[in-house]
Structure formats: structure tokens, C-alpha cells
Symmetry: C2
Subunit: 487 residues, 2 copies
């Protein structure tokens, strides 16, 4: 097949790129000029709204679920502007599920009085300390989130009580639920995020944006089950500059290529069965940049119950890990309960079922290494979480076993291999982005007709749907500009 | 009198300057080389710890009371480092009085459920919106805090309930308790402050730092009751470069001058009885800079009671103004209660009396124009606050009238004239600082031997004790450097 532009990957960045190439007023491309090659048998990538597994009529986003940075999020802003209620009605499908969460620990029956003990205020100081510490000097040595927390109490512990220290330190792993990696690996330097607005839960399902984009791309332009295994980036056999080899032996030739495979796939060796063999190989600086960043493993487990035995009026619950809890990795057996921080979502408050009623369901965000273990051993999820979730039981109610358990499988999916880009200690958040942009002298690929998009290729919205979306737009516009009048 | 260095003003900046000149290892100055000229009959300036007026054995800081920016505050850090318990014992004299405050309104009996209604989260968005709005463009037009709050709800009000809007909008004037001016005057552009750590209440009294500095300055080097009325900055009569005229007709001659009078005094016309007549007059750019910034009027009223009828375990209470409440200024009569935001301090939680027992006392921070009115009409304070403070009464207790009322008099004090520097709409926070620094070409005074210190001359710690302190150190070190070996 010969096309002008080939796009590898039908996640939100690839779909946004294809949609832009076909719908931008200045674009010279017709549908038969482009193709989207998708290895899996579905589009959407790490957007995955499950409408089948629930036994209580709920739908669950197993991948992206929130509009992050909701004050500036373009996906949200465009959904409000377009107001196409057949796709998404912001009046009914948005819910700020951010009521300050109640906090539980293994050693107490009820919730911890975080406000009364002013642990919330100690945490504010801790965040500010981390920010100031790493802002002070540009080349300051990175340490883990866990280490910088300990350092805070050493330097500023004079007037903090032991109780405050204990709860504050055990709260800080909450960032594991953002990054999907354990806090002793999290880069302290890049742990403090600046959010541009609250997180807004999309209660209809994030597949609305997949559907919205797909409507602007003729069906036959997206080839499912087409895994790209090799890319000849300087093709000499024929008029097209790039040659792509599929796993099934087919070839696609193109003059522009947008690679939107997950960072985890780019990071595989050329010889890996799910990796891409580049010819010539990727330049050394790109290879090095790929080693200077990691990939997280955020997962989810969802329990459905006969009835609600927790406080229905709460959006979320936080369950702190026991002090010093840190099983060896990788996990070879189910770790003890309370080994990791658990951020619990109360779907009974945020969601409605198909028939508009409330059901009884809780979700828990998982971080590595628990994600890998539970995604591979789904039946052990309740065993691990029962003692923790039992803390949430309200008076007069009794904890019941789930009637249904749904878990993600991102770490088991060979095309995804985890969640999204994550910064370990000493990682660099911008090196890979700069290398893949090819916008600076001496960096990236020599061939600027090979472009990269995806959540790992952008700083604003890194790891998020809206970041991926913006990166797809960026690359499509770059190609439109570069070929203006010459297709 | 002839000296090397004259310092006008014995507030914390002037005292720190004098202390540095006399104690810095590289300083060439002996006590008889310097003099501090203070218009009032006491030292300390806007630090004023009152130990006399209380009827329950408390001491009250009528001026500065908190260590702001407590993660980086040099006054606090040095107090911890020096650990001179005869002056200040941080183990016993520091109290984080920042337990999340309960919020009351005129129309409800109990406290507003700010967390349950997620008003706290709407407020987070509002703060972020203001920050992003003014960060977006360097030359963006300034509007008042009140206007930018209204604009937020216009732009991002889609998913905010009317109740959330009402409480969030009525909460935002809380910044009046920082700036001492009403929110329709507060510069929106500079309203969002970045604090380097929590606010830590000094429960012993801030005069410890006045005492600490005074110990390093021989008594006879500070002349009380010496108001400087005129400064000849280019003296031709004699060997000294500067001639200062006192109100009593005396003259002081010096080669270096540090002017630490409040910004409010610098802003007075030359002919004003409490102003300074400069000869030659201040340059036009300095005069203009003095007009591009304002002076706030933060005050305090303290009520002492027979017993405690509010919740002793709370640090503070916030009482929101009624919606649309905004009496004409200046106030010609006592405004209705609930006209202004009231931030209430529970001294019964933070303070102990001389004999170590707890007393019953509440403090309220006042903002302009209420400060001016109540400082001039002290007997009306309880009339205004009774309906508001009555909201705090707990079950089984009864509101009682105060047995003692103490008010500040900063706006009535002709040497102070308010509280500290404040930014109105369109004001510039750095112009005056740059002009007074004299460190840039074409700005400030021609005579660089005339220096300025005080809370209005510094960005880090502007308006705070530690800012004033750092500015005094800065100017003393500048003079020491400039005369090294040549006194």
C-alpha cells in the first residue's frame, strides 16, 4: 500500500492526527492519502471504556478516566464548545469526584482526623519544601520521593509531632496513584506536579473522544490487527521515503510517518517480538533518551457488591500503607494487606447505571509492583483488599464479598506494557521529548518526515489524554505546513 | 552631632542595620560612629507586643505576630539556631495556629460545610485560574480581586453550583486580612501569594527580636523622640555629605544614611508635618514610584471575656460577609455587621497567660476601611462584631459581652499611618523597590550613600518582619563593603 502519511497506532494521538489530516481546512490530504495502522483489534489505545463486564449496569473506564487540568484541558473545552449531546453532555457526564477523601489506617477503626491533627497543613509544608529544595539549584542531585520526605522531617521536624510525622509520611505515597510506580523509585525532583485545575471525572466514558475522532475518519483508513514490526526510514526501493513492514508480511510505503506507539514499545529492543526494528537503527542519542525515562504501571481493580456498606456520600477514600511496609520486588506472592497506598474510588457516588439508578461498586487504583501481580493473579485481589476496604464499613452495615471483580490488564497487554511515562530518580522529563521532536540541531532522527506523537512526546499534559490529543494535532499540523501545496 | 552612619527609624530594619554595623566581623564601625533616630518614644516600629492591657494575663502582638514563610524565614531560623532561651524558646513559643478554620455566615446557625459542598475545591480552582490568567501575558490588564473572581465564574461556571459560587465568592475577601485593603481595591494580578511554608504564630511576643537586636546596640546610640523632618542629601556646610534636621531643631551630620521610615511616611508631601522635606527634592522617578504603590490598614481588635463560649479546640474562625455588602468609603458611621470578611483568632487555643493558664480571648483582623473607623471609634467594636462572633457559640454556652476590648491604633499613629505596603489595581510591586535600591542606571537617588530599608524595600518577605530584617542586613552590609578600610 502506498500513502502520503502513515500513522502507527490508533490511540487518541494517532486518531487526532488522522482526523486533523482529513479535516483541517488547509490540509491537502484526501482519505486515500492516509492510513492508520493499529496492532490491536480495537481503536482507542489506553482509552478503554468497558460496558460489558459490570453486573450492575455500570460502565468503567479501565484506562484514562479524568479530565485533568480541567481549567485548560482542550478535550474538555472542545466538548463544552461543540456541545454535541449525542457524544457527550458535559451537564450530565462530568462529576468532580474530589471531595476531600477520608483517610484510614490499619491500626485505627475510624478515619484519621487529618484536619484536627493538622496533618493536612504539615503535608502542605512538605510539598512546598520539596518544590523549594529542587528549585533552589538547577543541578541539584535527585533523590527518591521517599528520601526527600525523610529529609524534610530531618530539616524541619522541630515542631512536628510524631503523630503528624507518621501520618504525613504514610500519606506521601499517594503520588504512586498518579505515577503508577512505588515512591522509593519516584523522582523527588519531578514529583511535585502543578495542575491547571481540578480533576473532573468523565462518568459517561472516555470513549466519547475516540468515537468523536473516528467519525471524522472513514472506517477503511484504519487497519486493525496490523502490527508494524520494522521501519525502513530511508527506503531506497521505490519513490516513497519510508517503508513499513507488518507482522503479516505486508508493506506500507509513505512519505510522512507519525509513530504513536507507547513509549514502552519504543523502548523494546529491535529484536523483541513486540518491538520495532528500525533500519538504520535509531541514533544513539535517541536510544539514550529512551533509557532516561521509565514507564509506569497504574492499574485498577473494581469490586461490585450486592449493596453499599460504605458511606455513599464520599467520593473517595485513602488507605495508608503500614509504616515500613515494602515487600521485595518483583512480587512472587501476594503481599500482606496494607503494603501499599490505596486510593479508593466510590463509583456509587459518581456513577449511575444504564437505568439511572445507583449501584454498589468501589474501584482501587493500583501501582507497580502490585499492578503487575494482581493483573496476573486477578483472583487474589479481594484477598489483598478485604482487610483494607473493611475499614470503610459504616455502622449498622456489614462488609460483603464482591459479586464481581474487574481488573485492568495493561501490564499483561504486549502492545501497551503498562500505563504511561513515569520518572524514576535521575530520569529526565524532557530529553526524550526533545529527541523525538527533531526540532533541534543534532538531536532526533535525521529524517524529519518521521514524526512522533503520544503522551510521552509532550510536556503539557504528559501522560494524559489531552496531552496525547495535543501531540497528534501538533504532528498533523506540522505535516500540513510542510507539504503545503506540494502533495 | 557627627556620625559615619545615621539610621532613621528604630523598627526591625533599622535595628538590624545598626546591629550589623556594630557586630559584623568586617565592620569598621564603633558605637560612636553610628546613631539611630527614632521619632516615637519606643523602639520596635510595627512590632508591638502589648503586655499591659490584658485583664487575663495574656500578651498580644498588636503588630507583626506570625513567622511567615516559616520554611525559609531567617528570623525564625536564627532563633532556632541560636537557641537563646532567655530570649525565645522555639519549643514553647511557637504554635501553628492554622487548623483549617470553621466558616460561618449570617444566614446559617452552624458552620458552613465547606468540605462536603466542595467549596474548598472550587476555591482551589479559583486560585489557580487567577494565577494562570495573569501569568498568561506579561502585560495583561490588571483588574480587582473582586472582578477576577466574577470573571472566573463567567468563564468556568458551567459545573459550579449556585451554592458553591456564593460561598466561594464570599470567601475570597479573606485576602483582605492579608493586605489590609478591601477586595475591590486589591490588585488581582498580585493577589496570589506564594508562601514558603506555613504561618507560625509567635506566642511569646515578637518583641523578642527587638530585644535581641537592642542587646547588640548600646542604649545611647538610639535617640527616641527624634523625628527627622528634613534631609539635605548633598550637604555643602561641612565635611559630611548628609545633614538631617530634627523637629527639635538639632542637626545630625553623616556620610551614610539608612532611611527606614514606613512607606506611608515617604509618601507624604514634603510640607506635611510628619513628612520629610528632601533637599534637593526626591527625583521625579522616585516620586512616581511612590505613587504606584499603596499602604494598607490591617488592624486588630481583641475581646477578652469572663469565660469561653466558643470551641476551644479551634485555632481560627472565618466569618463571611453578606453577599453584596460594601458600604461607602470612607465610613462615616458604623457599618452593618457582616459588611466585611472577619478572620477570627482563638487566643484561648494558642496562648497561655503569665501563670500558664488558658484565658478567654478572641482577636479579629481588621481591614480598611473598618480599621480606620474602629481604631477611631473603639467603643463601637463589640456592637459591630457581636452578631458575627455570636455565630461561634457552642451548645450549652451563652455569648457574653467582653470584659475588656483592646484595639490597635496604627492608622491613628502619625508615625506609622497604617500597616504595610499593599497593591491596588494597576500598582507595581517592584518599581519602588528598584528605585529605592539605587542599584540600576538612571533610577533612584544620585547619592548612593543614602540607602533605604524596611518591608517596602524588598520582594522576599515584603510586608513582613523577616523582609524588613533582611533589608536592614542588606543595607548595613552594603555600607560595610563600600567603606571597607576607609572610615
Amino acid at each position: 500500500m502506498n500513502v502520503s502519511v502513515a500513522i502507527v497506532g490508533a490511540g487518541v494521538s494517532g486518531l487526532k492526527a488522522a482526523h486533523t489530516l482529513l479535516n483541517h481546512p488547509k490540509s491537502p490530504f484526501a482519505p486515500n492519502h492516509i492510513v492508520v495502522l493499529e496492532a490491536q483489534n480495537r481503536i482507542g489505545g489506553r482509552i478503554l471504556t468497558d460496558r460489558a463486564q459490570s453486573k450492575i449496569g455500570y460502565s468503567y473506564d479501565l484506562g484514562a478516566a479524568w479530565f485533568h487540568d480541567s481549567l485548560t484541558n482542550p478535550v474538555l473545552q472542545e466538548a463544552i464548545r461543540d456541545d454535541d449531546t449525542s457524544l457527550f453532555d458535559y451537564r450530565h457526564h462530568c462529576y468532580y469526584d474530589d471531595k476531600e477523601a477520608r483517610v484510614y489506617v490499619s491500626e485505627l477503626e475510624g478515619a484519621v482526623d487529618m484536619v484536627g491533627l493538622k496533618v493536612d497543613k504539615v503535608l502542605e509544608d512538605l510539598h512546598k519544601y520539596i518544590e523549594l529544595h529542587f528549585m533552589d539549584l538547577l543541578n541539584i542531585k535527585d533523590v527518591s520521593l521517599k528520601q526527600i520526605v525523610a529529609q524534610f522531617f530531618e530539616v524541619h521536624g522541630h515542631m512536628v509531632s510524631d503523630t503528624q510525622k507518621d501520618y504525613a509520611a504514610r500519606t506521601m505515597p499517594y503520588l504512586e496513584s498518579w505515577f503508577g510506580i512505588p515512591w522509593d523509585l519516584v523522582s523527588g525532583k519531578y514529583s511535585m506536579m502543578d495542575h491547571q485545575g481540578r480533576n473532573l471525572l468523565n462518568t459517561k466514558g472516555y470513549d466519547f473522544i475516540v468515537e468523536k475522532l473516528a467519525r471524522g475518519i472513514p472506517n477503511d483508513r484504519t487497519l486493525l490487527g496490523h502490527q508494524v514490526v520494522a521501519i525502513d526510514r530511508d527506503n531506497k526501493n521505490g519513490p516513497h521515503k519510508v517503508s513499513l513492514l507488518m507482522k503479516n508480511g505486508d508493506r506500507v510505503y509513505c512519505n510522512h510517518l507519525i509513530v504513536t506507539v507507547p513509549q514502552s514499545v519504543l523502548q523494546l529492543p529491535d529484536s523483541h517480538p513486540y518491538g520495532i526494528a528500525w533500519s538504520p537503527p535509531l541514533p544513539q542519542n535517541v536510544k539514550e533518551a529512551l533509557q532516561s525515562i521509565h514507564f509506569g504501571a497504574l492499574g485498577k481493580v473494581i469490586f461490585e457488591f450486592e449493596d453499599v456498606w460504605w458511606d455513599e456520600s464520599e467520593d473517595r477514600f485513602d488507605i495508608l500503607p503500614d509504616s515500613g511496609a515494602a515487600p521485595e520486588v518483583p512480587l512472587t506472592a501476594l503481599p500482606p494487606s496494607f503494603s501499599y497506598y490505596a486510593h479508593v474510588l466510590n463509583y456509587s457516588a459518581s456513577h449511575k447505571s444504564n437505568n439511572g439508578s445507583r449501584g454498589s461498586s468501589l474501584g482501587v487504583l493500583l501501582q507497580s509492583p502490585l499492578t503487575e501481580y494482581l493483573e496476573a493473579h486477578r483472583k487474589e485481589a479481594w484477598t489483598y483488599f478485604e482487610p483494607m476496604l473493611s475499614k470503610l464499613v459504616v455502622e449498622g452495615k456489614k462488609v460483603s464479598a464482591p459479586i464481581n471483580t474487574i481488573t485492568t490488564d495493561w501490564t499483561q497487554n504486549p502492545y501497551i506494557r503498562g500505563s504511561y511515562s513515569a520518572l524514576h530518580v535521575d530520569d529526565d522529563p524532557s530529553d526524550l521529548i526533545i529527541q523525538l521532536s527533531g526540532e533541534f540541531d543534532g538531536c532526533g532522527l535525521h529524517e524529519n518526515y518521521i514524526r512522533f506523537a503520544g503522551e510521552h512526546t509532550i510536556l503539557d499534559g504528559a501522560g494524559c489524554v489531552h496531552g496525547a490529543y495535543a501531540s497528534g494535532l501538533r504532528e498533523a499540523e506540522w505535516i500540513i505546513d510542510s507539504v503545503a501545496g506540494s502533495v
